[in-house]
């Protein structure tokens, strides 16, 4: 590691620990710990979502893949703006209006029973833990490649830092670390973009022409690998888009703002930033292809993961390499901080607080349990990551995103938008989505190579419909009748009212009072009963 690299890296770590110490002084309640008290601004949250969502694999992996393979690899990243637009349209505002700390809270507004909450919490915790393990392994390998630090030391450093961020600073620290990471990433991409263009007479066309000449056009033209590869590409895109909208650490970011309008602003900001970033990816990638060369990139890392650091070294020497390396490490740490908080919420709040203790738990005890869970998550994920060094990270990462697309996403959509779904249908759909995604990946070429029983690498095109059909079928089989049907209808209408207005179904304007499952006699005015806005004590 160069001296410049050490200095830049230590500056970043020092800044993040300073933020954690500052946030720790404000981290007094479980509300602060899990959702930063709902006090994050819309624009700030948009930046934080970018910091949370753009992982090292998107930043380094996608650019490296475009540099080596060419046009078709852009689909590894191009899904992101679409995913966040879908998230903005379907999820962001209802989530903010319905949720408190976790995704299970959203579902529990309509289905308050323990089985549904347990299923949703287990699904969320599993997805987050898998993602944490994948990030630990990928992060440690990256630190090992960039700085030459031993794998196991890298895992321990990453685990210790992310645990301290989450343990001391909670969601507030995670948010600001993600914002700093997003700004560093934007600056880094802008710097690389300008440096590359300066080598090609400030012309994108010159750069593309050079890349085309280098490869007889293969790098810049679409490739057609056959019918099955095309279907797999559709399945991959489906899994990535729906997966992002089902990932707990992304979705809980919408619970950190004060209202639905701020949630909308968050999603819009995120779409703008991600779109701007992705416009620059092909330029940086072809810059690496032409200036560094595919042989040098492949020698450093077969998958092309080091194309960006190599390009940085070529363009700006040790200093730019050090900065890009620090950005790469910050991408891992920032994403991990959010994942740890998501796991903590699912285990401490949902499973322990609401299922084991049936909601009879004080804020102080829940905060204490949350902190214990942070430490336990770090320890468990470290153990798995140390054992999984030689495992294929793609298996773990693709499993996590496939689970999110096949379980959380259909469950959230059914809860928020389907009038006829039942609690049993939802629980069955969650399980069916999880099981089908796991089975398909277990039989896929990702695990078995070319001899795999299944040819599809990405399971979403099958597992998502399986989850949706299971929800529909079991909901139809368990459809309520008589008075139960009226209660279910009223419950749906009350949930829709809260999803749209942000006002709890505890009391709605008397014009809608017939919608309430159990009407509260408040003796209040003709128009307004007991209003329970999310911004006040009802939180």
């Amino acid at each position: 590691m160069s001296a410049a690299g050490v200095v830049v890296f230590l500056c970043f770590i020092g800044a993040t620990l300073g933020i954690t110490w500052w946030a720790g002084k404000k981290n007094k309640s479980v509300d602060d710990h899990l959702v930063a008290g709902g006090n994050i601004g819309g624009r700030q949250n948009g930046f934080a979502i970018v910091g949370d969502a753009i992982s090292a694999s998107t930043f380094l992996g996608s650019i490296g893949a475009i540099a080596l393979v060419g046009f078709n690899s852009i689909f590894l990243a191009a899904f992101a703006p679409i995913a966040f637009v879908v998230g903005m349209l379907l999820v962001a505002e209802p989530l903010r209006n319905l949720g408190r700390f976790t995704l299970a809270d959203v579902v529990a507004v309509r289905f308050p029973g323990k089985p549904v909450r347990l299923a949703m919490a287990t699904s969320s915790a599993s997805i987050s833990l898998l993602y944490i393990v994948a990030q630990y392994v990928a992060g440690a390998l990256l630190v090992n490649l960039l700085f030459g630090v031993d794998y196991w030391i890298s895992v321990v450093i990453i685990a210790a830092l992310t645990s301290v961020y989450a343990l001391v600073g909670g969601m507030l620290a995670a948010t600001w670390i993600q914002i700093i990471k997003a700004i560093m990433l934007l600056f880094c991409i802008a710097l690389l973009l300008l440096s590359v263009l300066s080598k090609f007479n400030w012309s994108v066309l010159n750069l593309f022409s050079s890349a085309a000449e280098l490869s007889d056009g293969k790098l810049v033209e679409p490739t057609h690998a056959g019918f099955l590869a095309g279907v797999d590409q559709i399945s991959l895109s489906m899994g990535l888009i729906l997966g992002v909208v089902g990932l707990p650490h992304i979705l809980i970011r919408f619970l950190t703002v004060k209202d639905a309008k701020a949630a909308r602003t968050s999603a819009i900001t995120c779409v703008w930033i991600v779109s701007a970033l992705l416009l620059a990816f092909p330029v940086v990638a072809y810059g690496a292809s032409v200036l560094v060369g595919s042989d040098a990139i492949t020698r450093a890392s077969a998958g092309g993961n080091l194309a960006v650091p190599l390009l940085a070294e070529f363009l700006g020497g040790d200093l730019l390499l050090a900065f890009v390396s620090a950005v790469a490490v910050s991408t891992i740490l920032a994403s991990l901080a959010g994942m740890v908080i998501a796991t903590t919420g699912a285990v401490a709040h949902d499973i322990y607080g609401q299922v084991v203790k049936s909601g009879n738990i004080s804020q102080q005890v829940e905060l204490r349990v949350a902190r214990i869970v942070v430490a336990a998550t770090g320890a468990v994920a470290t153990g798995i990551a140390l054992a999984a060094r030689d495992q294929n990270i793609a298996v773990i990462a693709s499993l996590a995103i496939a689970l999110a697309a096949s379980s959380n996403f259909p469950a959230l959509m059914a809860t928020i938008y389907s009038r006829h779904v039942t609690g049993s249908g939802l629980t069955s759909g969650l399980v069916a989505g999880l099981v089908s995604a796991v089975v398909m990946i277990a039989l896929s070429p990702t695990v078995h190579g070319q001899d795999a029983p299944l040819s599809l690498v990405n399971p979403a095109i099958v597992s998502v419909p399986v989850a949706v059909l299971t929800i529909a079928l079991v909901s139809w089989l368990t459809r309520p009748t008589g008075n139960n049907r009226s209660a279910a209808e009223a419950s749906f209408e009350a949930m829709r009212y809260q999803a749209i207005t942000g006002i709890s179904p505890i009391a709605v304007p008397s014009g809608l009072s017939h919608l309430q499952p159990s009407r509260k006699k408040s003796g209040s005015s003709d128009l307004v009963g007991v209003w329970c806005d999310r911004s006040d004590s009802c939180r």
Partner: protein, 100 residues
């Protein structure tokens, strides 16, 4: 029309407009993206060059980023209008109720 039914009507209208907005925008966004993937993978329509060595496929990929930003702008302005209409209706109902 009494206060109760007017309140319900205002809410129903707001909910209906939101639904209409989603039913319009979601298929456009998702359809555009998946149409692009299908065309790129199963046809040769986008294989040629549009400008210099920039292929039509790249032009379409870049256009979907522009489309994503355009959808956010449309959604924001339409939602603000819907919310303002609902807030105005709710405010009128509150005043009627206070007057009683």
């Amino acid at each position: 029309m009494n206060t109760i039914s007017r309140g319900e009507t205002a809410y129903r209208e707001s909910a209906s407009k939101r639904k209409q907005l989603l039913v319009t925008l979601v298929p456009v966004v998702v359809g555009y993206y998946f149409a692009m993937i299908v065309i790129v993978n199963f046809t040769t329509w986008l294989d040629g060059y549009a400008i210099g060595s920039v292929s039509w496929a790249y032009v379409v990929v870049f256009s979907q980023f522009v489309m994503a930003v355009a959808v956010t702008l449309i959604y924001r302005s339409r939602m603000e209008a819907i919310e303002m209409e609902f807030a105005a209706a709710s405010s009128n109902l509150q005043q009627d109720s206070d007057a009683k």
